[in-house]
């Protein structure tokens, strides 16, 4: 058994007086594909936002590749991580957002090239080649010089995936990446994720409402409910054979 690449240890998160997460414990192995399901407002987004360093946990530890993400050692004591520490750890993580968040002032190719060049200081020609390959892979090789505003939602989301993948993260986070799309565009995006999940060996955490999709690609499914992981196991255990009543109620609403 390999060491987990991500560990949540008793992680709590509150916004003001509202306790959103109440003790999350979670291990993610390298290359493991984890689907997170649960009712709206149960804290799914918050979990991956903490991992992406967009939100700071109120308490508990998040360990990424053996390094504490939000804390660092200073004079023998663990203190709050500074931006330098966060930058070091964050380099292993990539994220695809619900609303794409492409850079509107850059072409699609530039969107995919800017971070490897400016953040990782990679060679521009190599990055260009890799970015083009990646855009080809998500089916947008013929749109390299278009701007995001000229694309459909599904195309934008595929660019967003290419942009994250060119950074070669060890962990990829997907936050309901199809829920802002018109129904007829969902399939093309899921197809790309399926392809990535089958062929790439990075860990993936997907917040999703697509149960069949989760069943198909996830090694592990977490059911998040009222701030805790109420149920976890293989996709078939959780989605098809669980006896948890709230989970069944939840699934019932989604499988119609």
């Amino acid at each position: 058994m390999s060491e987990p690449i991500v560990k949540f240890q008793d992680v709590h998160k509150s916004f003001g007086d509202i306790k959103v997460l109440k003790g999350i414990n979670l291990d993610i192995k390298p290359a493991e594909k984890v689907a997170v399901i649960g009712p709206s407002g149960s804290g799914k987004t918050t979990i991956i936002r903490m991992l992406m360093t967009l939100e700071e946990p109120t308490s508990g530890d998040i360990i990424v590749d053996s390094t504490n993400l939000w804390k660092m050692e200073k004079k023998g004591k663990m203190v709050k991580a500074n931006e330098k520490h966060l930058r070091q750890v964050r380099g292993d993580i990539g994220m695809v957002f619900q609303h794409f968040n492409l850079f509107p002032h850059m072409t699609i190719l530039e969107n995919c090239m800017t971070a490897p060049i400016h953040v990782k200081k990679e060679n521009k020609e190599e990055v260009r080649e890799r970015a083009i390959q990646m855009l080809d892979r998500v089916g947008l090789g013929d749109k390299l010089n278009n701007y995001p505003s000229q694309l459909s939602g599904g195309q934008k989301q595929r660019v967003a995936m290419a942009r994250a993948l060119v950074m070669r993260p060890k962990i990829m986070l997907f936050d309901e990446v199809t829920s802002a799309l018109d129904p007829e565009l969902v399939g093309e995006v899921l197809e790309v994720i399926r392809d990535i999940a089958k062929h790439d060996d990075m860990a993936m955490v997907l917040v999703t409402h697509e149960m069949d999709f989760a069943l198909d690609i996830a090694d592990k499914v977490l059911f998040l409910d009222e701030g805790v992981i109420a149920e976890q196991g293989t996709a078939s255990q959780v989605i098809e054979h669980s006896t948890n009543e709230r989970l069944q109620g939840f699934l019932h609403r989604f499988r119609r």
Partner: protein, 239 residues
């Protein structure tokens, strides 16, 4: 009252005299503007310092500068500042005008930058963070390139507004077209023609600037959005 009637002889006599000040007027406008554009960033970033007391001080300093007439500020810098023991020192009229008008307008420019920055979608900051940009690169590559272009028409308007305030500098002895016209008037007891010339010069320079700004506005809005040309037309007129 002693009226002087219009004379084309006086007009053509005054024209070259007044035009001698044109270089200074245009030069002062451009220098003040560049100063304001640069110093505006200082305000913008000072206001972003996450400290309540500091923020309060910066906000009220800006408010104070904005609510005081530029003429008072000009006089203060030129006449009063040199008299303050310890910190004060004398500045020539041109430098005083650059500082006075430049600082005054930088507070407006700072507000414009702020509105531009606030108009950038929250998701852009998050994507920059997710892609691990440094703070400096985030501003340089992602935030400012989106924040500034939409403000260019507004910044352009301030160029014209500022141009029209530059004659104030004649009161502290900057020899632009306004001072030249005044001097001509005093020497020849003929104010109508030289001041008319000043008016014409302002019209001739402002109007094309306004048209240019309008063009820029459309260009900025269509830079990465083919459908935006329509939107910018609805957004309203220049000036």
């Amino acid at each position: 009252m002693n009226f002087t009637y219009w004379s084309w002889d006086t007009f053509f006599d005054a024209l070259p005299f007044v035009l001698q000040g044109l270089g200074i007027t245009v030069g002062l406008t451009i220098t003040c503007y560049l100063f304001a554009l640069t110093f505006g960033f200082v305000w913008t970033f000072l206001r972003r310092v996450p400290n309540k007391a500091f923020n309060w001080i910066v906000t009220w300093t800006m408010e104070f500068i904005r609510s005081t007439p530029p003429l008072v500020q000009l006089f203060f810098i030129y006449y009063a500042w040199p008299m303050i023991p310890g910190v004060g020192f004398a500045l020539n009229p041109f430098a005083s005008a650059v500082l006075g008008l430049g600082i005054h307008f930088s507070t407006y420019v700072g507000e414009i930058y702020r509105s531009g920055i606030e108009s950038v979608d929250k998701g852009q900051w998050e994507a920059s963070r997710a892609l691990n940009f440094t703070t400096l690169d985030k501003w340089k590559k992602i935030i400012l390139p989106q924040a500034i272009p939409p403000t260019i028409p507004m910044l352009g308007n301030y160029f014209i507004i500022m141009f029209k305030e530059v004659p104030l500098a004649s009161t502290i002895g900057v020899a632009g077209i306004m001072l030249m016209a005044n001097t001509y008037g005093a020497q020849n007891w003929a104010y109508l023609e030289p001041l008319t010339i000043v008016g014409i010069i302002f019209l001739v320079l402002s109007y094309p600037s306004a048209v240019l700004i309008k063009k820029l506005e459309v260009k900025m809005n269509t830079r990465f959005d083919k459908n935006a040309a329509v939107k910018s037309d609805q957004k309203g007129a220049v000036m």
